[in-house]
Symmetry: C2
Subunit: 755 residues, 2 copies
């Protein structure tokens, strides 16, 4: 179908609709077309009329419809397959049931748009097969989950099923007979909804992405069936749940936390900051976004009086914007916390998110350019609006700028900042813990250029849905490695993770913004503090992305200031990706490799080499794809410079064997790590030309470091001198500062100085 | 300029030419335009007329011209920079001199095409700067080369300079005064040509890609100056050279080999097989192709009586075809021998190769599709022909099929076969040693899919022109690792490399084709034997790429039969790239890593893990990018299964730390390794769906293994049985075979059976 030209597709639809509308209905049921109140949930009767009128004239919509029809037709050919539940994710029964709910939702839509009963019959047959099976099912035989489902191994996937099946049911509701509806509701939908709510309060009555799916599943089917009791549970949670404080789920997250609002509203209130940042990070926000938005669309259609899109100052639509900003140049989400790399705004959940945000968020033309890249739309009013916008050529580029997203219900629990300059993107995390998917990585960052990871965040230790790797679920190395502090580009003190690596401590705290300033287009800067990760130790990290004519491309300044109550060992790793080009220090490689430590993630690092600084500057350069990078850092004579590699104590090859450069400063009380990371030059394997392969820096020096100020001097190869100063104690934007360094006086207003 | 539309560019040229042609000449010299005999070398007077007539009407040519003009104009702005030679490749003086010769060649062409004296003056000023400098120069201060140049650290680069500068000189020859020409020839070109020939016979009088450049450099300038003595040296080598047999160059290659024809003809005769395969491999063929073809074009223009394109049955044009076939789906050359990965047919040398092959090889329309991808042409008759062909829409896809390229002057020294089926490409090397750039890897192979390496050949240990890495030259790990047998997907016996890793032995031998058959589109098969690598041990490896409906994608059968005079240890590595998914055997990982051995490349492998076969089949699967792969091999109970990683004893991080799966069979005299490698399924990080993630094989078994026959039985998950049999002693295509395995009789004609 994809090969057909748009014209052919259009012709096909016009002919098809003409034929469909002329044929006499063969519907044997008692409701006939255009009577009754459904569809009303996502598709609406008015919306379907609009869609039909525009068919053949909205290329991206027509193409999606043709693709969907081809997909569903192929599945209809296979017949109704509803196996007895047995497998974990990745296994046959899991994947088959997953496919079923995805396909019947689409079949319902096709029935409405194309008016062909073949699709209604398919939905009906499928739902009746489930209505027959469901009452016979015990809980799922796989015992891994804290909340086992019936169709799937966890209630989460059962909820997925219901969110989609509710939409399918809505599409055929009026077409089914009353008796048929009664059977489906009595044998399938009501017991299904009760099982994932009352039957599993530990799943349903939480603030968590799992619960969001549960709430929405119950809410969607409630709206279709017009069931107020279920809707109330969906929106506000169960009144009673008999859960004990302290219960944990499989990921170690708390199940019961006193004083939280529950249900859909609770899940909107708690994890979203006023800026639309979702505390688990973009990977899970992407996952949660579909139920949040699809239910919002349903509520908007059925209960417009709730004004759901205006809830909490429009947080749902802000969430879409935040999420798009949390992606790199290729649209891949930054892998904060338990994020799997490669997930991007090309995922289906973001297609609906973008379409819904466009329709209900004032038709922002920048969203059209994302939708155009996605190259498909949702087959409803929102997708139609997008398709019309694209057809009319209204799109504008979605320009990603530096952004600072607050975390926490009230926006006062730290945040995540993305500094952007030319092709560079620096992601600085100083957020709250991120619920059960959080990592112990306060003040960590990652650096990206043109969609490539330069200094990586490891992400999760999991191969989602790949059955061979631990059933597709979290691997134990997620806990022993990926969550640990040493796995991140931030400081580990005394080889202990932040908050002792304990969830119950970590989840109580968050880092704090010190200042963020993106006003000067050449200097994007974010500074944040963490005082709870190690009691008695205060950390202030300032990251700046600076564009300066004496450098080929924007460079990063990294100032990590530590103040402690006693002497400690500080390890600051940089997880560079690429091949080492040159170091200015000598290092010894070993004949035999040993792990760097015994616990807290250190047991997973091989110590490949170690050296001492050659001068008061340490220079470490590498090549990543076709670009060169150099880290220049002010060294203490006693620093140990370690070259390490992930992969020790990894008996099942669950980890990626990637490298790290670690600066270790032992037996030190207060100190500042001052570094610059440059992106420079290029290499082409085709022309074999290496351009600008060396750093532009001849020296980097901390010229002042007091309680009040830290100043770094950078001397370039052009023999120019740059000074970067931050005020460590006063972050006000209008405070005047005057200080003298050597013979020179510096006078400025605000929290930093650069020249 | 790239942003301008073709129309604008065309308009620009039409206007430009009009202006140029109307202006009065400001040429102060005594020859005027359109008089004299030059250009005649690459551009010709008639050719320039044709080009001028077509300008503005041949988009790809116009675009290249505009890009070239922009590039040269920017360099002219910088002025004439001719520094005193000092640096190795990657350093300033090296890169500046390299840029100079590239730019003056282009400036010469621009002068001819655009008729603007700015370009002639630039060429003249540059050449005179060299004429002033050259007589003052000692040999280059860097002492690394066996043949030091004057402008560059090696005569090779000096020769590059002359090949390009001769073209520049040809373009301004008639425009210069007689006195100017005399000065340039006396002070620069003649001494330059004599230095790289008579002054460096160890460089000039060899069969080697270096010498090709030397011969061509002298030949090109000889043709421009009409100097018969130099031309004879170029074509036939120096009459006397006083070189001793046994001398070596920096790469360990022999300098003097008795009885070889020398000069350009010698370099055409010896390294090219009748199929156009160049014995050093595609990476060096690509490098040599430019001088071979540009000089051929020059000889064709100036000495048409030589019929150079018909020489040795058209070997030069066959060479272009062979080279294009030695590239993967992305156009990257397979990294045989000392090949740097990423070099592709997008390199400038291949632009001229494709253009010349098109013009002088019968205007094969498939070459137009390559030229279109290259998106630029040579600014001469050949490029014009391409541009006109593309403009007229004549191009056809360049379809790469399976091909078997013989090696050796007479085509009887083994070869390289590429088996292709759907998106899979299997490169099987059973060639001669490959001169000084050869590796000790008889019967090795690599596997590629959609341009990705699935089972890699390591390539060279070098970062070409990246000064930080050993001056951009060969690293010592090239010898200690990359050339060693264990670094390749072939068998190492008793931890010794083939031919004891000795060039003087290896270069005497080659493997032999046993049979090659691509007639059945579903079975591409190549079998070759090696009997000299380990005296007393005979090896026969058969690789087949088979398309069978019981498998999702084509799969590889790998049968490696060994017969020895005593018990040995056989190591067969598979350098898979990607992440291990699952093995069917248990392995122990180590708390401490040690190198796998002490020498012959083994010292560079960390032994990460080791295990024993769990059953008579060993199954090893991995994911590479978004596809799954499974190796299934028939195991002996005593096999050791080793997981290793490159990178031990690598004190400067010169090696890539990539993995290997090694099957070790100890204390065995005769044996056969029988394996199947499947490509199957897919994983999407966006949909998070894993499809067909498991092998289609339930069992693989050697059911017969005699002197005469080897048979393998494969049982699939569909419960079908496949039998693959080869005749080990008779490779005739019409021999009838009848054998009985178990109760079943097999009857077929030819060297193999598959069903």
């Amino acid at each position: 179908m994809k090969k057909f030209s748009i014209q052919l597709i259009a012709l096909f639809f016009i002919s098809f609709i003409a034929i469909s509308c002329n044929k006499t209905t063969e519907n044997a049921n008692d409701d006939v077309e255009n009577e009754g109140s459904h569809p009303k949930l996502i598709l609406t009767k008015q919306g379907v009329d609009n869609i039909r009128k525009n068919l053949g004239n909205v290329p991206i919509f027509d193409k999606t419809l043709a693709d969907t029809k081809a997909e569903v037709d192929a599945e209809i050919e296979l017949g109704i397959l509803v196996p007895i539940p047995k497998d974990l994710s990745g296994g046959y029964t899991h994947e088959r049931h997953k496919k079923n709910f995805i396909i019947i939702q689409k079949a319902g839509v096709l029935f409405q748009i194309l008016n062909d009963e073949k699709y209604a019959n398919y939905v009906k047959d499928m739902l009746f097969a489930y209505a027959k099976l469901y009452p016979t099912l015990p809980v799922h035989p796989q015992t891994r989950s804290y909340a086992r489902g019936k169709i799937f191994w966890q209630c989460l996937n059962d909820s997925n099923w219901l969110v989609y099946s509710a939409q399918a049911y809505d599409c055929v509701y009026d077409w089914l007979s009353k008796e048929e509806r009664e059977t489906l509701e009595k044998d399938l939908f009501i017991p299904f909804a009760k099982f994932i709510s009352e039957g599993n309060p530990q799943f349903f009555n939480r603030v968590h992405n799992h619960s969001t799916w549960g709430n929405v599943a119950v809410g969607m089917i409630a709206l279709v069936m017009d069931n107020d009791e279920l809707l109330d549970n969906a929106l506000n949670g169960l009144k009673t749940d008999n859960l004990n404080t302290g219960m944990r789920d499989n990921d170690g997250g708390f199940i019961k936390v006193e004083g939280l609002r529950l249900g859909f509203f609770g899940n909107l209130d708690e994890p979203f900051s006023p800026d639309g940042y979702y505390n688990e990070g973009p990977y899970y926000q992407r996952y949660a976004m579909y139920p949040f938005l699809i239910f919002a669309e349903a509520l908007h259609n059925v209960k417009p009086e709730l004004k759901i899109f205006e809830y909490k100052d429009g947080v749902l639509l802000k969430g879409v914007d935040a999420l798009l900003n949390l992606s790199d140049a290729d649209g891949d989400f930054f892998p904060l916390n338990d994020g799997q790399k490669g997930m991007s705004y090309y995922t289906a959940a973001l297609v609906s998110a973008v379409d819904i945000a466009y329709k209900f968020g004032g038709e922002n033309p920048e969203l059209l350019s994302i939708a155009k890249k996605q190259d498909r739309v949702v087959l409803d009013d929102t997708g139609l609006a997008i398709a019309i916008g694209i057809k009319e050529g209204l799109e504008k580029p979605f320009t990603k700028k530096s952004v600072n997203l607050s975390d926490g219900k009230k926006g006062d629990e730290g945040g995540v900042g993305i500094l952007r300059s030319d092709n560079l993107e620096l992601v600085y995390k100083y957020a709250s813990h991120g619920s059960s998917h959080g990592h112990y990585d306060k003040l960590s960052f990652s650096l990206h250029e043109k969609g490539n990871e330069v200094l990586q965040d490891y992400g999760l230790a999991r191969f989602v849905n790949i059955e061979q790797k631990g059933g597709g679920n979290y691997l134990k190395e997620n806990q022993t490695w990926a969550k640990q502090t040493i796995a991140h580009n931030t400081i580990t003190v005394n080889e202990e993770s932040h908050f002792e690596g304990k969830f119950e401590i970590g989840t109580k705290h968050h880092s704090d913004l010190y200042f963020y300033d993106d006003k000067n287009p050449n200097i994007q800067i974010l500074s944040a503090a963490e005082v709870n990760a190690y009691p008695g130790t205060e950390m202030l990290r300032t990251l700046a992305l600076i564009k300066d004519e004496d450098f080929e491309r924007p460079f990063t300044i990294d100032l990590f200031k530590i103040k402690s109550d006693s002497k400690k060992q500080y390890d600051l790793p940089y997880y560079y990706l690429g091949h080492i080009m040159k170091t200015n220090f000598e290092f010894e490689t070993y004949d035999q490799l040993n792990p760097l430590g015994k616990k807290n993630g250190y047991q997973h690092l091989w110590k490949e080499a170690s050296g001492k600084p050659a001068t008061d500057n340490t220079v470490f350069s590498w090549k990543n794809k076709d670009l060169f990078y150099t880290l220049t850092t002010a060294s203490n004579a006693n620093d140990e410079l370690i070259l390490a590699r992930i992969g020790a104590n990894d008996p099942e090859y669950n980890l990626r064997k990637e490298p790290s450069f670690i600066i270790r400063r032992k037996n030190t009380q207060n100190t500042t790590f001052a570094s610059v990371i440059e992106s420079h030059g290029s290499y082409s394997s085709v022309s074999e030309l290496a351009l600008n392969a060396y750093s532009s820096i001849t020296n980097l020096k901390i010229v002042l470091d007091t309680e009040a100020y830290t100043a770094v001097e950078i001397i370039t190869k052009k023999n120019t001198t740059k000074i970067f100063i931050i005020s460590n104690k006063d972050n006000s934007t209008d405070k005047n500062h005057i200080i003298k360094i050597g013979n020179k006086e510096y006078n400025w207003k605000g929290s930093y100085y650069y020249k």
